[in-house]
């Protein structure tokens, strides 16, 4: 049918409206039409054969996920004694990994919600992918506190419901706030993602060549037909969701930081924690988006859609949030000195020279030194170099949470109650297993869903703009701004 295409769209050329994009690099490669965008993105799902590379990657991820299930089974049989946690360090890998995964998710919401409100058009080709990343990361994150409960089959006790025990959650505890924040976050992210997918499922339904595909994508698309009024409501709903997801994402990591900041443990009890945690989350999240999109765009030949400008903009956001995080470290040190508090002072000394000093120095190298290379244009425009910096940040942010949790708990107030902590093999297999779960879901997502929003990519083409018409009806319609 595409042979009947008579009029070509003008190449997207060098329209750069974004204030971030001072360079002329476009957000979409030249020569694309509505049809070519649809076909290229839907072909990844519908017609392109599943490559050997996909199978290899998926198999590795799947095996890691099986390791996760094995670890969880062992945990359910034996108990949390399998882990390295004990007095005084009762929050080990589980809380470290929980905060790490939640933080990774935040870039997805930032890209899909905040950049949508700021009308940053370059977000279009990466938002679907980043949102998927958010949902999978939150799923991984949620596993840790649930398994940490010891009796995870009672996890529903966290929800307020009338019960025969006559018990209610303690609503003055940040841990209960966290339950509400994370579950709301998971649900809202899922809804936002699904809302955006509905029109694209419609496209896949119409493009699918098999009956199974038509039925499955047809059900998922809910009968979407692209009606003008439907699009109008869809747009309004997306904008409103973006508007409410923006304060939500800030609140989630703020509340995660309250889990620490409300406690009196030295190194936790700090007012800098909420902004410092939110910046850290966005930092880690953008590093993870870079880590994932750089290989994916190379493997699937998506350089037209995820251009060097996208990578550069993400690198800039990573650099800025990295500087905020570095500022957070400085404030921690300053407050330890300025407060004159013996325990706070010792906490910093312990970080630099104590038993976990290697981790702290590695954290400073990964989180403060490594991103400084992004100042160089050469590094920003080289995907390989950016990928390396992003990997440093991924590791660094994990170490940051490890230092916050373990260093503070292992040596708090009384030297007689000090202790040491290290993760056991089950801690590691649980952590690496969730990476397997995350990658498995990501592989399935890339294979079965449009990883770039087709309809939003259409709007980037110059042909999508309708020139102003003279005859504008004025029968009391309200324009939506």
């Amino acid at each position: 049918m595409s042979s009947s295409e008579t009029r070509d769209n003008v190449p997207a050329g060098d329209r750069s409206e974004s204030p971030l994009g001072t360079t002329a690099t476009p957000v979409i490669g030249p020569g694309h039409t509505f049809a070519s965008i649809t076909d290229k993105i839907s072909a990844i799902v519908l017609t392109r054969p599943t490559t050997r590379r996909w199978w290899i990657g998926f198999s590795i991820a799947f095996m890691l996920m099986m390791m996760l299930f094995f670890t969880i089974s062992a945990l359910l049989v034996v108990g949390v004694g399998l882990w390295g946690i004990n007095v005084p360090v009762g929050w080990g890998f589980d809380i470290v990994n929980f905060v790490w995964w939640i933080g990774i998710g935040h870039a997805g919401t930032l890209i899909s919600a905040i950049l949508l409100l700021l009308r940053q058009k370059w977000r279009t080709s990466i938002n679907r992918f980043a949102e998927a990343m958010t949902i999978f990361a939150v799923m991984c994150a949620g596993l840790f506190p649930i398994m940490h409960m010891g009796r995870p089959w009672f996890a529903y006790w966290l929800t307020p419901y009338p019960n025969t025990m006559g018990l209610w959650p303690q609503f003055r505890s940040p841990l209960v706030w966290d339950v509400f924040a994370v579950s709301t976050y998971a649900l809202v992210s899922l809804l936002f993602w699904y809302i955006g997918l509905i029109p694209d499922f419609g496209t896949l339904r119409d493009r699918s060549t098999t009956r199974v595909g038509r039925v499955i994508y047809g059900v998922l698309s809910m009968g979407w037909r692209g009606s003008a009024m439907h699009w109008h409501r869809h747009e309004v709903a997306s904008l409103l969701l973006a508007g409410i997801a923006t304060p939500l994402v800030v609140s989630v990591h703020t509340i995660v930081s309250f889990d620490f900041a409300v406690g009196i443990v030295p190194g936790w009890h700090a007012t800098i924690f909420p902004p410092y945690f939110v910046a850290g989350a966005v930092y880690a999240g953008f590093a993870m988006v870079l880590t994932l999109t750089i290989p994916v765009r190379a493997i699937y030949g998506l350089e037209d859609f995820i251009t060097s400008r996208h990578l550069e903009n993400m690198a800039k956001v990573m650099l800025v949030t990295g500087l905020v995080v570095a500022y957070g470290y400085m404030v921690e040190m300053f407050m330890a000195w300025y407060s004159g508090n013996l325990y706070e002072h010792y906490m910093i000394k312990n970080r630099f020279f104590g038993p976990y000093r290697l981790m702290y120095w590695a954290l400073l190298t990964c989180n403060v030194v490594a991103p400084q290379f992004v100042w160089l244009k050469k590094v920003r425009s080289s995907p390989a170099a950016l990928w390396c910096v992003a990997m440093f940040v991924n590791v660094g942010m994990w170490l940051e949470r490890y230092v916050i949790v373990v260093v503070s708990l292992s040596r708090d107030f009384m030297p007689s109650s000090w202790g040491r902590y290290s993760g056991t093999i089950f801690d590691w297999s649980f952590y690496i297993g969730t990476i397997g779960l995350f990658l498995t879901l990501l592989y399935l997502f890339i294979r079965f869903m449009p990883m770039i929003s087709i309809f939003e990519m259409h709007t980037l083409l110059p042909d999508a703009q309708v020139p102003e018409t003279k005859e504008s009806e004025s029968t009391g319609e309200v324009s939506h701004d």
Binding site: T184, G223, E473
Partner: protein, 185 residues
């Protein structure tokens, strides 16, 4: 018997649809159709086109009010849930501190507000759009599959008072569409 009554009551076709190659052509056709007095019509496009809502004379959606209502319900529900749990059902006296400690209730209230508003936005959008709707007459048209790819459709429905099978067809054909077709039920 019921079937025959329905069959006699409804018009033989759903409407007449014109297919355009560009959004600009569709918008000007929609303008012209509205100018000609057609009211029951809709456009189908692969991506949102802001001008269409003007051109088709559609009213602004009341979705924002539904979202507001969802948010208010979430806010009140979240707050009074905590009030009930902490003051009425399970009061814990810790150092004589007040049971109704409202500042500690803010985070959960906030999250519930967001949840209520988000659910209202999604369910409201689907509800107002009448989705899920597995069957629609337009899907009978094989070429309508292009509406989610690169074609732009304008459909004048048979229930429009000005609808006339021949005249409407000619009217749409004059708009320089790629194709004009009738949509069977």
């Amino acid at each position: 018997m019921i079937k025959s009554i329905v069959a006699t009551n409804r018009p033989p076709i759903y409407g007449i649809v014109a297919e355009f190659l560009t959004p600009a052509e569709l918008v000007s056709a929609a303008h012209a159709a509205r100018h000609a007095g057609f009211r029951r019509m809709d456009a189908y496009t692969p991506f949102p086109i802001e001008e269409l809502t003007h051109a088709l004379g559609m009213r602004h959606t009341r979705l924002p009010w539904i979202v507001l209502a969802g948010g208010v319900i979430g806010f009140l529900g979240g707050y009074f849930l905590q009030y009930f749990a902490s003051v009425v059902a399970y009061p814990l006296n810790i150092g004589g501190r007040p049971f109704h400690s409202w500042p500690a209730f803010i985070p959960v209230t906030f999250e519930c507000t967001i949840l209520g508003a988000a659910l209202a936005a999604v369910l409201g959008m689907l509800g107002l759009n009448g989705l899920p709707m597995p069957y629609h007459p337009l899907f009978n048209l094989p070429r309508f599959a292009m509406a989610t790819r690169n074609r732009f459709f304008l459909c004048i429905e048979a229930t429009d008072p000005k609808f006339d099978r021949e005249k409407t067809r000619q009217f749409l054909a004059a708009m320089n569409p790629r194709e004009v077709s009738e949509v069977p039920h």
